[in-house]
Each structure stands twice: as C-alpha cells, then as structure tokens.
Amino acid sequence: MSQPEKYAELFAAEAREHLAEVGRALLELEQEPGDQGSLDAVFRSVHTIKGMAAAMGYDVPTRLSHNIESALDEMRSGRRQVNSDVIDLLLESADMLEVAVEATVAGKEPPDPAILIERLVLWRFADAEAETAPAPVDAERPAETASAPQRRAAPTAASLSDGSRLRVDISRLDALMNLLGELAIVRGQLSVLAESLDSEALQDSVERAGRFIYEIQGHVVESRMVPVWQILDRFPRLVRDAARASGKEIDLKITGKNLELDRSLLDAISDPLVHLLRNAVDHGIEPPDEREKIGKPRAGKIELSARRERSRVVIDVRDDGCGIDRNSVIEKGRRVGLLAEGKEPTDQELFRIMARPGFSTASKITTLSGRGVGLDVVENSIRAMGGSVGFNSEKGTGTAFRLELPLTLVIQRALIVEVADQIYALPATFTRESFEMEQSAIERTHGREWIDWRGERIPLTSLRALFHAEDDNGSGSAGAGDRFVNVVALEFGGARVAISVDEFRGEEEIVIKPFDPPLGAVQVFSGATVRPDGRPALVLDAGNLS
C-alpha cells in the first residue's frame, strides 16, 4: 500500500469513529446541557477530525470541522448556552461532515458546506443576550487541559489505540468462513471415504483434521463478532429526531450494548430495528397531552434490550404506548379474507396479518395507519437470517416485539432429522427438546393433533403429512402403526409447536447456503446445506411450521 493510500485509509477509519462519538456525545449533551464531559468529548473528536483532515489536505472537512469547533468553543467558554436549537445545528453539521468525509475519501466532490458554515458563524455572532450564560466552568483555563476525571474513555478511541488489534476487511472473514464451510464438507466426504476403506489410520487423521477445522471455525466466528453498540448507538439520535418531528416526548432506554454479534447479522438487523423504533415513535407512543389525559407520564417509554440466550440472540423492543386495537385488526383481517370467521387469532397470527404487505395502507382505520408499514420488511429480513419475530400487544398499555436470531449466519448448530428417507436440518435456534413419546399420548381434536409438553398443550405437526410423503400403504401419518413417535418441540417468537419426524440423526454444525424455493413449493425451508456424504439437505424454517 502506498503512503497516501495508507494515510487515507487510516484517516477514514479514525474519522468515522470520531464522527460516531460526536453524534453520541451531542445527544448526551442535549439530555444534560450542563455536562462539560460530553461537551469536551464532542470538541475533542471534532478537533481531531479537523487536524487529520488538514493533514490530508481535505479542504471541505477541514473548514467544516473548524467551524463546528468554533461553535463548540462558544459553549465551552460559557459564552453561549447549550439548547436544542444549537444541538440541531450541530447534529446537522456533523451529518454534513460525515458526508464530506466519505465523499472526500472516495475521491468524490463533497457537497458545498458554505450555507451550513454561514449558519454556524451566524449562530456564533448572534445576539446571545437572551440566553443566560451558565456558570462558566473554569473559564480561565481551556477545558481540554482541565484534569477533571473523564467520565468515560471513548471505547472507539481505546480500541483504536490498542496496538495488538488490527482492522480487517469483512470480506476477507467472509471468504475465510465460506472456505471453512467447504472444508468442513470435504472433511465429511473424507470421513465417509475413510470408513468405506476401513482404514483406521485414515479415519484417525480425518478425525484430527476435523477437530482443527472446528477450532479454526470457532476462532473465525469469534473474530467476526462485534459489539451491538456499533449500531445501537445510532438509535438515540434516530428516536430523538423522530420524536421531535412528531411532537412527542420519548425516553429511550437501551440495554445489552456489549452483547457481541456476527458482523453480517449486525448489519442485517439494523434496518428491522429502525422500522420497529420508528413505528413505536410514530404509532405506538401517544402525544404528550393525550398521555397526560389518560394518566400516563408525558414522556413515552421505549425499551430496546439485547441479550444472549443459549445459542440465540434475543432483542426486545417494547413501548408503553397505545398498543394495537385487536378488534380493528381482526375485523379488517376478516374483511379482506386473511382471517376465518369466528376464529380468535393469537398474537402471533395477529402479527402475521399485520405483516402482510399493504395490510395497513389499504386500511382506513386511523389507529392502525402505518402500523403495518415495514412489518413485512421486518419479518422477511429476520426470517431470511433464520430468525423469528414475536409480537405481543395490549390495547392501551403498549406493544412489544421480540426478535430471535442465531449467533452467526453461516454456520449453525442443527438437529438432523429424517422424514420419508430424506434428511432435514432444524436450526438449534428454535429446537427446545427432542424426545420419543407414546402414540397414545397424542390428543386429536378439531382435526389437529396436540401433545402435552412441559405442562403446556401444543399443536403437533407431522412432517410426513406436511410433505405429503405418503407411505406405500397410503397412510399419511408417520409410522402410524408404531407405538412410539419421535417429536421435536420448537419455540419461536414465544410460540411453541411440536413436529413429528421419522428418525433423529443427531446434532451437527451445518453450513447454510441461501436457497430460493421453487414456486409453489411448501414454504417451510430457509436454506439448504450439504451433508458429509455430499448429498444436499433442506433446512427447515421453524417459523413456518405452525
């Protein structure tokens, strides 16, 4: 890499982290306008960007950051006060700076910052008399030299300055992961071969190679993990802007920021989460006056929490807003034929109806307007990752969404099952328990089969019947003559179902290949995988098995 290229890359990476820090600290500052620590953090990051941009000879980013810095200095010196208007101006400037940085790095012409710079200058020289200056924080001394304890070191800066870390292009890790997947398949083939040759020495070697592959996979998976704050930290700004635009007051609480997720998953969950948060702000939380009238605090609450549960990641988004009017949805669902008459839908079914593309836009029910917008997008993208969306809403008290996701996209643990001589894989994200039970314990009512699982009555679906894999004798039910039946209990988005299969074939790490099902096929597969013997197996999508 040439010198200039090396610098440009370093500049881009470091500037991005500082821009993220600027956005984060500005919002913190808006929450606590007197917080010198946040103000200093914004100043330092903008200042660093300015110095770097100047060194690179990037004119627009240099001028813009210089003017942002000057505006910040007015507040640090105590001459001007922090308020929402100036935060708006600064956020807008930071956005522009980000655009300018990215454009410049990409060798493109950055947008003209003249108007924004003029606004920053005008703000500085505007009559500040109306504002009462807060007590200056040691105005004699520049704040950057103040040795007041830093409330927190910017995590970004820490990770950057750690000499034992390095940045790697994600596409290299993707390539490594894919090659490992292929290698795992070859190993499986070798293992089958070794067995057929009956060579113990060969079997031993293949076994050892397998252990190393497994270990390398573990390391690659680990190295792809990034903390979720990398996307969650953008949300306070998003919610703030949406709230301001709709005249609502919102208290956003985010927990579980340090949870680590596969990089590709992280990118993929960003949009669905944005949809859910926007929906919560626009349609969930009521206007402050309305909330007051019904005895709720003026500021609505939105909680986003991320956590790891065994081999899956669970992300909850809940609001304490108006909730969803079940009756309106049911009525609408019946009118457009999505819901049978006389049937009381579960929350999950309600969600399915709302997630239908165009459900809400076709509706004139105002309390629902827009509620469905994006829900289909949310569901489709989460399902594409092998995850599920759970939903729960109570009219008047709020709405909760639960996203469940596998830890990584490429390699997943799966339960291998056999149905009518075909092999299928069930991702461990959804499987709760596999067991054998007596046929006589299956209850048959309303044309469905039910079983009792851990004290709960859950529906049982026969995969054999689902796949129309009838036996020669015409019996549709799996091994109807047998006394025992093999059952897997599944859970997704809070819903529990069971499926019956012919045989269990143990657990395996499978490499999932994306898959487009043929038109008209049963929509219960989320992908395909190649088995050690080289034959393909379909990956079952638990979310569609109910």
Binding site: Q3, K6, Y7, L10, F11, E14, A41, F43, R44, H47, T48, K50, G51, M52, A54, A55, M56, G57, H66, E69, S70, P142, E144, T145, A146, S147, Q150, A153, A154, A157, L160, S161
Partner: protein
C-alpha cells in the same frame, strides 16, 4: 546512535504521519502515547531525547502533560503539535516548558527543522 522520540497524539493517523516523517530522517520512534497520562508514564519509562506533544487529548491534555514531565525532568525536550487557532494554548505550553511548536497540517521540512533545532 540515532536519537529517540516519543510521539504523543490521540489520533493514530497523526502518530503514523509524525512517525513516518521522523523515521525517514533517521530518528528512532521508541514509543507512542494517546493521552497526557500515558505520555507521562512512557516518558519516565523510555527517557526519549524528544517528545512530540498534541494539545487536545482525552485523559489529560498536552499542556498539563508538559508541566508534569518538566517537573520530573527539567531538561525534557518537548515539541508541541498544535492545530490552527490554538495560538493562545501554544503560548501557554511554551510557558509550561515546551521548547517549540509546529502547526498542523505538518510540513515535513518544518517538523524536521524544529526537531533539529531542538536537539542541536
């Protein structure tokens, strides 16, 4: 023997750039620090012939770091690296014991000139 340098700046980008300039002129970069606190520790440990010091940094800025370093070693040779618009701070840094300053964006020739003068 080549002269040793400690580079203090919170941006890796800046540290890399300064290091490249100095290395090309035959200096040995013995250490880097990203904050004032770290600069003081590294100075005690490495006893470099020269320190380049940024002004605005988290965890103690450059001016306080200069004061602390000069307190323990009055002979310390520190070159301040300031950005545009920090004249006031540069003066303060010189009063605190820094020997000279360069302004970002750096001209390699200007940096080397200042360094030679300082060590000469």
């Amino acid at each position: 023997m080549s002269r040793t340098v400690l580079i203090v700046d919170d941006a890796i980008f800046m540290r890399t750039m300064i290091a490249d300039i100095l290395k090309s002129a035959g200096f040995e970069v013995v250490g880097e620090a990203s904050s004032g606190v770290e600069a003081i520790e590294k100075y005690k440990e490495l006893k470099p012939d020269l320190v380049t010091m940024d002004i605005v940094m988290p965890d103690m800025g450059g001016i306080d770091a200069v004061k602390e370093i000069v307190k323990t070693d009055p002979e310390a040779r520190i070159l301040m690296c300031s950005a545009m618009g920090q004249q006031g701070l540069v003066v303060e840094a010189i009063q605190a014991g820094a020997r000279d300053f360069v302004v970002k964006p750096f001209q390699p020739s200007r940096v080397l000139e200042a360094v030679q003068r300082l060590l000469g």
